[in-house]
Subunit: 196 residues, 2 copies
Amino acid sequence: MKKGERRKQELLQIAYRMFVSRGYENTSVDDIIEEAGIAKGTYYYYFRSKEQTLEEVIGMMIDKEAEAARQILTAPVPVPQKIVGIVTSLRPAPEEQPIEGALMQPENIIMHNKIRQRLVETVIPILSEVVEEGIREGVFSCDNIRERVRMLIVISNDTFDERNYTDRDIAVFIDMTEKLLGAEPGTMDFIRELIR
Amino acid sequence: MKKGERRKQELLQIAYRMFVSRGYENTSVDDIIEEAGIAKGTYYYYFRSKEQTLEEVIGMMIDKEAEAARQILTAPVPVPQKIVGIVTSLRPAPEEQPIEGALMQPENIIMHNKIRQRLVETVIPILSEVVEEGIREGVFSCDNIRERVRMLIVISNDTFDERNYTDRDIAVFIDMTEKLLGAEPGTMDFIRELIR
DNA sequence: TCCTTTTTCGACTATTGGTCGGTTTTTAAG
DNA sequence: CTTAAAAACCGACCAATAGTCGAAAAAGGA
């Protein structure tokens, strides 16, 4: 009765590895079952479809990211650093599986989008807490926190994810982050150091 | 020698209609050739692949959007209105083919992304001109125009595309647009009227 | 042991994007 | 008009792929 659970975890791990390294589209169910050494029927005993597998794999990833974010939440660092720390941790599995050259960016839009979508929803509340902390401390000053946090995530994603950003992109990002949260000019300048 | 060109345009039109109404993924090459009344070989005489068809279809759409944007560029309306006019025209084929309920949003990520990507590149220069015009007029005041314009497009897309936005989303969007371009508070308030 | 439930198997199906050799139609030159 | 090359077209065929299904093996009690 628990052998099944182990099997499922095993399949999830294999699928995770293959999805991340070769992309969701470029991984066939046959690939997965070959790697796992099982038959087609067994795979579909555990998953309703290939997409459901992706959904569960993403769930795993999200959980990990969220936990990392919550970790930062209680860390003894200044609020602006917390913000940036959480936001920059949103890049899906950067150190995890940077196998090969271009694997997470080009055609893997489906997975990428699904991750981003669910990540946003997960991280908004966490990030909102940090912003509220900053407001209490007087570092930030703004209303509509959740909406602003969402926008922060969006512009961060677009600026840094899968794309060559210039110094000017960074400058605008810093400027807008400060204005988004109502921080004093210069508050977020330290971002420049972190990136490069 | 021009019969071929007509055929190709016809196929492009059919593909466009089907991609938009049923989604790229949910449209098979067989669907297209059946609708067109031609054989498989003929289709592949005109297109290297299904994806190339999508690419060309998107090209058509982009051209239309870009022309509409350029139209607004020379229209006799205040600069802020121009900005909003162009930005809100970016939603791909809203009035064109709103067939069925959820057709452009759910799983059509691939097409959606490709459109967005190429649209951004096309519209940035046009929108930048408008912003420069606004700067000359004294309505706006900012540097790094292209980067800011890009960000404007991004936040606009995220706020209004495929998602339920609240009054607070709009408030934040207006606020950030003004700050992004260095406009006086209130300059962009008219957006509220346009939307609703 | 015997019956039930869980797990596994792999042959089979349907759909899909794409290929290929050959046939018909157009075009234009002689 | 004849004819040969070029353009356009055809549809059978192929390979890959997600997903199905009935049955067989394992595992678990009673």
